[in-house]
């Protein structure tokens, strides 16, 4: 990036705007960027902290097409395509590497699910293939596949480094006249004939429309306009090791434990696993020893040579859990002009490129993608259930 480039605003928020985006993580910035690309630049992004403070700065950077629902598969196919062109479009490297995702199954029940999902993915043109345990070792020779009954692998899945996504989207949006306010908390939202009066720590702004992209912190924002979101934050811990020379091609994941590990461009192993936790509705970001012991046991059993590799840092971020594993999008009943965009259950980052594009298309008068119908808040009252099963971490 060059000198003289537009920066986040440090002054007060302007008095009026067409769209206020609450939450400056990857989702909000993706939408802001896509809106600006389509000429809608009277947009204000309100981020309560610094860029990448939320889940956008804490995730493991995995992007995959291997999902168990048609919609997720289709969305991610497009999102991965957008990841591939991100550096060229925004001028910022995100180190997107398509080394694939290798899922490992430990039971026959998992095998059945895997076969079913792979067949679904294949029908949609995703080149995932089923493998036996021995073939998994062709891809990652360092694996100890004791107890692994089968695997599946899509070479087109990949990993990226999340932080620069935010610089890229933010700077491109800023260049086109979008205002990005950091360190700016939204404290209240009043509804009126004119739209919404959004109160912030840097002054009020009247917005015709509001998009709530506050991730795990969205329920508080939605409550400001009387909407109850059925999402809850689950803490997921993660760690990175010292940098190693490149040896690991894919992201590897074990469904039964939620273990995942991959190698970043700098050479670190970035890895997480599901650990029992008490969920009390708060976003918890503290680190536990229990996470290290749980993860180490699983990871070193799977890759014994990793025993001597050193952990450099552990941290945590929230998965924004929705009751059916699908995000909550579109306008809630009774609050037109207020748009929801959360509940991504730990895969919001990888969905942000495509969701941003789809939301921007809709909000600038273009077509309204079926995902906004499929993911309406009202579906919970209507009792529709179609869950996503391939959640890891």
């Amino acid at each position: 990036m060059k000198k003289g480039q537009a920066c986040p605003t440090t002054g007060p928020v302007k008095p009026r705007c067409e769209i206020a985006i609450v939450g400056g993580g990857v989702m909000g910035l993706s939408i802001a960027y896509q809106l600006a690309k389509r000429g809608l630049t009277d947009v204000v992004v309100l981020e309560s902290g610094y860029l990448s403070q939320g889940a956008s700065g804490r995730n493991g950077g995995g992007v995959r097409m291997q999902w168990s629902t048609e919609l997720n598969i289709a969305l991610m196919q497009e999102s991965i395509e957008l990841c591939g062109s991100f550096a060229q479009e925004t001028g910022v490297n995100v180190w997107f590497r398509q080394g694939g995702y290798l899922f490992l199954a430990r039971t026959e029940v998992e095998r059945e699910k895997m076969e079913r999902n792979v067949a679904l993915q294949n029908r949609h043109g995703v080149p995932t293939r089923m493998l036996d345990a021995a073939s998994a070792r062709d891809i990652v020779p360092e694996l100890d596949v004791t107890g692994i009954v089968c695997a599946c692998y899509n070479p087109k899945d990949g990993v990226l480094f999340p932080w620069p996504f935010l610089w890229g989207y933010a700077h491109q949006a800023l260049r086109r006249g979008v205002a990005v306010h950091l360190d700016t908390a939204v404290t209240a939202i009043e509804r009126g004939a004119d739209g919404f009066l959004v109160h912030t720590s840097k002054g009020p702004v009247v917005a015709q429309r509001v998009i709530a992209t506050a991730g795990a912190w969205s329920p508080a924002i939605a409550r400001m306009v009387g909407v109850t979101l059925p999402t809850v934050p689950h803490r997921h811990e993660i760690l990175s090791t010292e940098p190693l020379k490149p040896w690991l091609t894919p992201m590897v994941s074990v469904l039964s434990s939620g273990l995942y590990f991959s190698q970043s461009m700098r050479g670190e192993i970035v890895t997480g696993i599901t650990v029992e936790d008490q969920h009390d509705g708060r976003v918890k970001l503290g680190s536990r020893l229990k996470f290290l012991t749980t993860l180490a046991r699983e990871l070193v059993a799977l890759v014994p040579r990793l025993g001597g590799v050193k952990i450099v840092r552990q941290w945590a971020g929230p998965y924004d859990m929705s009751p059916d594993g699908r995000p909550i999008l579109g306008e809630p009943p009774g609050v037109p002009g207020f748009h929801l965009c959360s509940g991504f259950v730990g895969h919001g980052f990888m969905m942000a490129p495509v969701i941003g594009k789809l939301y921007a298309e809709w909000l600038t008068g273009g077509s309204r993608h079926e995902v906004f119908e499929h993911c309406r808040l009202a579906r919970f009252a209507e009792g529709r259930v179609e869950s996503e099963e391939m959640i890891i971490g």
């Binding site: 550096a87 590497r97 360092e142 010292e242 020379k245 461009m265 503290g286 020893l289 040579r305 990793l306």
Partner: protein, 432 residues
């Protein structure tokens, strides 16, 4: 003598040497190459805090040479360089990008080129290679509960433990180095004699010292046993595995980290932290450099310069304030510096074979911060200093003393240690 293997050669080491010191004695100047520009790196802090001496040792990557004791048959190799650490072709990165390379925007214009660039970057990235072998299973973890844990067996920690022991409290002193004494061991004004004396006092007072044990964190949510209240210190006892440690009182005397100064090529091998030079002198009897520049104006800089001079080195003093250092010149070892004198128009070159940077060490406040202490940035005290009350209390059940509350040096740190140790001891008596 101990014999280690270094890249095909056998090197003799003194029994107390760590690998970095042994290599230094043998004249090995480049220990590693940096991650992005492949710049040569040598010793900087010699205390395990700076990351400059990462080597492949016994087939394990990224091991701190300064924290690895020498042992017969130890295999030591350099990493991240091709064909060798002395002549690394990839240092072309440093040469082709003299002003630095902004990896955020590198080759983003063309998608195909970008993909190729990323492939190359990944191949040359990383530091050490995956270990050759799994490691042996470690002993089962241990659990201990004591009355008082003192983290850091330097001047402050030893004095505090002594005071606590004399007051009849059970004290466990935990220190990450293989030899207790902390900054005494880097300071010619104090040296081995002061360290040993302080250690003997602490032991005589009943304090137990656990050395080679690094406290990894205060974990507020993890409990040491079922039904026990949450909160424990995770300690890596080198060679023995994990220890879960809890106490009635916690006292942090974690000291301060050596810092570098900012000038061109300040990472050149031969630019060492002053206390590293102090450690070489005091612990290993090595006079580093025949013609060292001592950069800094404080009492430690003065004392170290005198000690080096007394040991036969030709010392040049540069205060670093009125006379500013601009660059460290040389090749893979420093052979001179450039300075700008006050009112000087042009830089002046001083030839030397070592640059001894006596910058204010930065308080090592991470652990007390994890345990609830606040910090405030005090540049004159070295950095983020732990905030404590009059008796050294930093948070409920948590105390801090010595350099971690603001750099004061060994004598004042010891004085504080005694005062705070006594204060902590009194809290037992005052309880109903």
């Amino acid at each position: 003598m101990t014999v280690i293997r270094f890249e095909g050669d056998e090197l003799e080491a003194h029994p107390d040497d760590n690998v970095a010191v042994a290599l230094y004695r043998a004249g090995v100047r480049t220990l590693s190459r940096s991650i992005k520009y492949h710049r040569p790196r040598g010793i900087f802090c010699l205390a395990g805090h700076c990351g400059a001496c990462l080597m492949r040792i016994d087939g394990q990557p990224n091991v701190k040479a300064c924290r690895t004791p020498c042992r017969d048959g130890l295999v030591v190799e350099r990493q991240n360089a091709f064909p060798s650490a002395d002549l690394d072709a990839l240092a072309a990165a440093d040469f082709f990008f003299p002003r630095g390379m902004d990896h955020h925007t590198l080759m983003t214009g063309n998608r195909a080129l970008n993909v190729v660039m990323q492939k190359v970057v990944r191949q040359i990235g990383g530091l050490g290679r995956l270990p050759d072998q799994p490691v042996a299973t470690l002993p089962a973890p241990r659990r201990r509960h004591v009355e008082v844990v003192v983290v850091g067996a330097g001047p402050a920690g030893l004095a505090a433990a002594t005071a606590l022991g004399r007051a009849g409290r059970q004290v466990l002193l935990v220190d990450e180095q293989d030899r207790p004494g902390g900054s005494y061991l880097a300071d010619p004004r104090f040296g081995l004699a002061a360290a040993d004396r302080a250690v003997q006092c602490a032991r005589a007072a009943g304090a137990e010292i656990l050395r080679d044990a690094a406290v990894l964190a205060w974990y507020p949510e993890d409990a040491p046993a079922t039904g026990a209240p949450p909160g424990l210190l995770a300690v890596h006892v080198h060679g023995q595995g994990l220890l879960r440690l809890t106490a009635e009182r916690y006292l942090y005397a974690t000291g301060a980290y050596d810092q570098n100064a900012l000038f061109a090529d300040n990472d050149r091998p031969g630019v060492l932290a002053a206390r590293a030079v102090g450690r070489l002198l005091v612990q290993h009897g090595i006079v580093a450099g025949r013609r060292p520049v001592v950069l800094g104006a404080g009492p430690y800089a003065r004392a170290l310069a005198e000690a080096l001079q007394g040991a036969g080195a030709e010392v040049i003093r540069v205060d670093g304030v009125a006379t500013r250092i601009l660059a460290a010149r040389g090749r893979s070892w420093v052979n001179g510096i450039e300075v700008l004198d006050p009112g000087g128009a042009k830089p002046r070159r001083i030839s030397c074979d070592m640059v001894v940077v006596a910058a204010l060490p930065a308080p090592a406040s991470e652990l007390p911060r994890q345990h609830g202490a606040g910090v405030t940035l005090r540049p004159e005290a070295g950095g983020f200093a732990c905030i404590v009350g009059g008796t050294g209390e930093a948070a409920r059940g948590v105390w801090a003393c010595g350099d971690v509350t603001g750099f004061v040096g060994p004598a004042a740190a010891a004085w504080q240690g005694t005062a705070v140790g006594e204060a902590v001891a009194r809290t037992f008596v005052d309880q109903p």
